[in-house]
């Protein structure tokens, strides 16, 4: 890409070219700098991501006892009774382990982070009405699924403090093959 040519095109188009400062590779052409600053308030409405350290978890809480009703109403039709799976994934109750010839991957024996469960339910479930559950309902149904998998008790309270502390059984079950190939932190 020929930067002088691009610059002249932009000038012909009457577009201003703000400071040509580049942190990255030398062949990155200058953009016209049209991005509008995003405020922290705007970002918090856009970013509902929950990280493994619990960053992004909202206020609210729930228990498995409360979550059973949410599950029956919102999840059971696809995921089956007790999370045993149907047209949707099996979520609990694996009879076959990960090293068997016919392994069953469930939350309890496969998912490495409990925070992922909260994040995924809040962003994507139920499929017929995503993002329709309240934060309390998401905590409660997350608790119910962890309870079905024998990871927490029926009345354990799940909230922004307790959820990131849960250590999932398969936490160390993954090999970062990208990092392995690249060396270093595998990202840059």
């Amino acid at each position: 890409m020929n930067r002088p040519a691009i610059t002249s095109i932009l000038i012909l188009a009457g577009t201003s070219v703000p400071g040509l400062c580049h942190a990255g590779a030398a062949d990155i052409p200058a953009g016209p700098g049209l991005g509008r600053p995003a405020t922290p308030a705007e970002i918090s409405r856009w970013d509902r991501e929950v990280a493994p350290d619990g960053t992004g978890l909202p206020a609210g809480e729930g228990t498995a006892r409360e979550g059973e009703g949410v599950y029956v109403k919102q999840c059971l039709s696809c995921h089956g009774k007790d999370g045993l799976g149907d047209s949707g994934d099996q979520l609990a109750g694996a009879h076959m382990g990960l090293t068997s010839d016919y392994p069953e991957k469930t939350i309890g024996n496969f998912w490495p982070y409990a925070t992922t469960l909260f994040d995924f339910i809040r962003r994507s479930m139920p499929m017929t009405a995503p993002q329709s559950l309240s934060d309390d309902e998401v905590y409660a149904v997350t608790a119910y699924l962890l309870y079905l998998n024998g990871i927490i008790g029926r009345d354990d309270k799940l909230n922004a403090k307790t959820l990131p502390r849960i250590k999932m059984p398969n936490r160390n079950g993954f090999i970062n093959v990208y990092k392995k190939e690249k060396g270093g932190d595998g990202a840059r």
């Binding site: 890409m1 691009i6 095109i9 932009l10 577009t15 580049h22 942190a23 990255g24 590779a25 990155i28 052409p29 200058a30 953009g31 016209p32 049209l34 991005g35 509008r36 600053p37 995003a38 970002i43 856009w46 970013d47 991501e49 990280a51 493994p52 039709s77 696809c78 047209s87 949707g88 994934d89 990960l98 090293t99 016919y102 392994p103 991957k105 496969f110 998912w111 490495p112 982070y113 992922t116 469960l117 994040d119 995924f120 962003r123 994507s124 499929m127 995503p130 993002q131 079950g173 993954f174 090999i175 970062n176 093959v177 990208y178 990092k179 690249k182 932190d185 595998g186 990202a187 840059r188």
Partner: protein, 446 residues
């Protein structure tokens, strides 16, 4: 080289494989390879016309069309959907590779993978947010993005679940494209992602970028910053027209050579972070379980692969013994295809196929080789070698390395058996597979 058959043609390998340079000779006449009969094709009403004075020369033709469609006589060349049995908007649809030639996938035939349907995004109300470990978090409208310097490049996108039924103990009987067609090849036009990251000012601590889509799944995955700064593209155009809704309209992240799920469609948010977010689709899914019980994670790169698209399973060598053209596709997420080797005797001898120029990095590459079929049963395979020297594994090699339960990243050599009656079917090179199946065509796509 140097050996010739009784017609004086150079022989390249056993069982009738001819030198690829034979393709440059005049007067080659290939036998007819009939494609599988499907309902749509069988329904065609074939009136008998006099080709010297056909009716379409005797009356004025149809008028102009604002947007063209294929000939009605090609209406069996369509995607093959394999949706979830309840949530019919979740699943995949396959590109009919076995019914196509060349390397470019027409937009209407690009494979689809939707986790909860195709959103109908109003472009004026779509935004891209770049935030996290940046100096200036920024919003971009689609109109903003269309004013940036654009670049075009051709590359394939392949779902890492492509060919997943290959893990089965019994060979799939579906046509080649409906098993291996979760790969498509497109000229994407857009903005190098580095340009926008540069504008936002990447913090030194940032090492990963989380990309999120604006669909009803809000699918999110983490991508190493290294790739984002290298050849990642924010695609706005697909083969010259704006993206199709099912391919991410109005904005898609394209990561050449990397598994489909990281090529986030309907892109709405990029967050720079120190580490990956550990989303569901990079932990519970899109990780490859090994026999040890550990799973490969962040297995982004689609390794070299090839497939004979014709003749392929379900087809018939209709002209009987004689000269046929073997053709197929090869690709590698690590760069260019260096060579495609073809065998017709089940791997006893191999010959290099002709590669259709231009051979582009991380793009589908068409290969062709002439074959004189002697009428006996034959085993056809292709094997890709990429510019890094990586050789596409045999099925036994892949299974020895990965087991049978990885689901993703199946890139083994595919075997087509030609019977003496000319029918072509899918077989495995190792006939002593244990029985019993695990991967169904529709599992894994919820």
């Amino acid at each position: 080289m140097g050996k010739k058959d009784k017609t004086g043609t150079d022989i390249a390998a056993g069982n009738g494989l001819l030198d690829r340079r034979t393709l440059l000779k005049n007067g080659l006449r290939f036998g007819v390879i009939a494609v599988p009969a499907v309902a749509a094709a069988a329904d065609r009403t074939r009136e008998k016309f006099d080709p010297a004075r056909p009716p379409w020369m005797l009356t004025p033709g149809a008028g102009f069309t604002p947007y063209g469609s294929p000939s009605p006589f090609e209406n069996d060349v369509v995607r093959f959907p394999a949706p979830n049995r309840v949530m019919r908007n979740s699943g995949v649809s396959f590109t009919p590779l076995h019914l196509m030639e060349g390397t470019i996938t027409p937009n209407g035939l690009h494979y689809e993978r939707h986790h909860n349907g195709v959103p109908q995004i109003v472009p004026e109300e779509h935004r891209l947010l770049v935030h996290g470990l940046v100096k200036k978090p920024l919003f971009f409208t689609v109109d903003d993005l269309l004013r940036y310097p654009l670049r075009s490049r051709q590359c394939f996108i392949e779902c890492s679940g492509n060919s997943a039924t290959g893990w089965n103990r019994i060979p799939s009987r579906f046509p080649a494209g409906y098993v291996h067609g979760l790969v498509s090849n497109t000229e994407w036009t857009g903005i190098p992602l580095a340009v926008l990251l540069d504008e936002a000012g990447v913090d030194k601590k940032a090492a990963w970028v989380v990309a999120e889509g604006a669909d009803a799944f809000a699918l999110d995955v983490s991508i190493p910053l290294e790739k984002a700064m290298d050849d990642a593209v924010l695609a706005l155009y697909q083969n010259g027209e704006r993206l199709r809704p099912e391919n991410g309209y109005p904005l898609r992240l394209v990561l050449p050579g990397w598994e489909g799920v990281t090529n986030v469609k309907w892109l709405r948010r990029l967050e720079l972070r120190e580490g990956p977010i550990m989303s569901r689709d990079e932990t519970a899914r899109y990780t490859d379980l090994l026999p040890s019980g550990k799973a490969r994670q962040f297995s982004f790169i689609m390794e070299a692969k090839s497939l004979i698209t014709s003749p392929s399973t379900g087809m018939v060598l209709k002209s009987g013994p004689g000269l046929y053209q073997i053709t197929g596709l090869a690709w590698s997420g690590r760069g260019r295809i260096r060579e495609v080797q073809v065998t017709t005797d089940g791997g006893k001898s191999w010959a290099a196929a002709a590669l259709q120029e231009p051979v582009l990095s991380k793009a589908l590459t068409r290969f062709r080789i002439p074959w004189r079929w002697n009428g006996s049963p034959a085993l056809l395979q292709s094997r890709a070698v990429d510019e890094t020297g990586y050789v596409q594994p045999s099925r036994s090699e892949l299974i020895a390395k990965r087991g049978r339960n990885g689901f993703y990243h199946y890139n083994a050599v595919v075997t087509w058996k030609v019977d003496s009656d000319g029918t072509v079917s899918h077989v495995y090179e190792n006939r002593n597979e244990p029985s019993g199946d695990h991967v169904d065509i529709d599992t894994g796509w919820d």
